[in-house]
């Protein structure tokens, strides 16, 4: 599923990465512990977190995530957006809690051919 479709359906704010919205999302991962996300998320995932420090960008870049969603109204630090722009990682925002967003992402993706449930490690 195209990232743009998720952004529109979930009414997400696009903080950066407007030019990457045509990329494909194949699944998602929820986590606030970076070593957990490093190990257990997959390439092409959308990552839902409430971490807003710039360290999330290196993780998303190394694991080639399609985008990061900052849940629960978390505001990113300025250097988070700067780094995300440099690494080409879209950062999206919502006031709603991660649980709700994950549920909606799952529902939308589960009708999609590219969706891969679970994790590959």
């Amino acid at each position: 599923m195209k990232l743009r479709h998720l952004v529109e359906r979930l009414d997400l704010g696009v903080l950066c990465g407007e030019d990457k919205l045509e990329s494909e999302v194949n699944g998602g991962y929820v986590g606030d512990l970076l070593s957990d996300v490093m190990a257990n998320s997959s390439k092409g995932n959308i990552w839902i977190t409430r971490q807003s420090h710039q360290n999330i960008i290196a993780v998303a870049s190394l694991r080639e995530h399609a985008a990061i969603i900052l849940a629960l109204g978390k505001k990113p630090d300025d250097d988070t957006i700067e780094k995300a722009t440099r690494e080409g990682i879209p950062v999206l925002a919502t006031d709603r809690p991660g649980f709700e967003i994950a549920g909606q992402v799952y529902a939308l993706l589960s009708n999609d051919r590219s969706f891969r449930a679970g994790t590959e490690s």
Partner: protein, 143 residues
């Protein structure tokens, strides 16, 4: 590839603003060398967790990447407090990360365990008050 590739990256302790820089650069190099997806993933995890442990616990360190036709070799050497009890440090969930480090999302106690899981060979040695040395080898598939 006909020639082996080698490069060393220096990592500064406590510099969280640049955390991941060495790992991202190493991943780009490996991508250019057309290393396959799964090996790339394992190497990225191993290097990232190594880099973050230098930043989190040591004064400074070096990560040396060496790639030949069959393997990715990563040597991580730091100057720092070292690890008193290596078996304990290797256990998933064990962490001495400070509150400051935990607030950024580190300190799950999973780093060393994940490095080991991603490695075909993993050796760790440490001298308290001197530093820690990791030797990591990841095989290149289908070669």
């Amino acid at each position: 590839m006909n020639r082996a590739y080698e490069k060393t990256f220096s990592v500064e302790g406590d510099n969280f603003d640049n955390a991941g820089t060495a790992s991202i650069e190493i991943k780009k190099i490996l991508k250019d060398l057309r290393i396959d997806e799964d090996v790339l993933r394992k190497t990225a995890i191993a290097v990232y967790e190594s880099e973050l442990n230098i930043i989190s616990y040591a004064r400074s360190g070096n990560i040396t990447l060496y790639v030949d036709d069959d393997t990715i070799n990563i040597d991580v050497e730091d100057e720092g407090p070292g690890i008193e009890d290596i078996d304990l440090a290797m256990q998933p969930g064990y962490s001495t990360a400070t509150e400051h480090i935990r607030q950024m999302g580190f300190g799950a106690g999973m780093g060393l365990y994940n490095i080991k899981s991603c490695s075909d060979l993993f050796e760790i040695s440490s001298t308290p008050n001197v530093g820690t040395h990791l030797k990591i080898i990841i095989k290149r598939n289908g070669r």
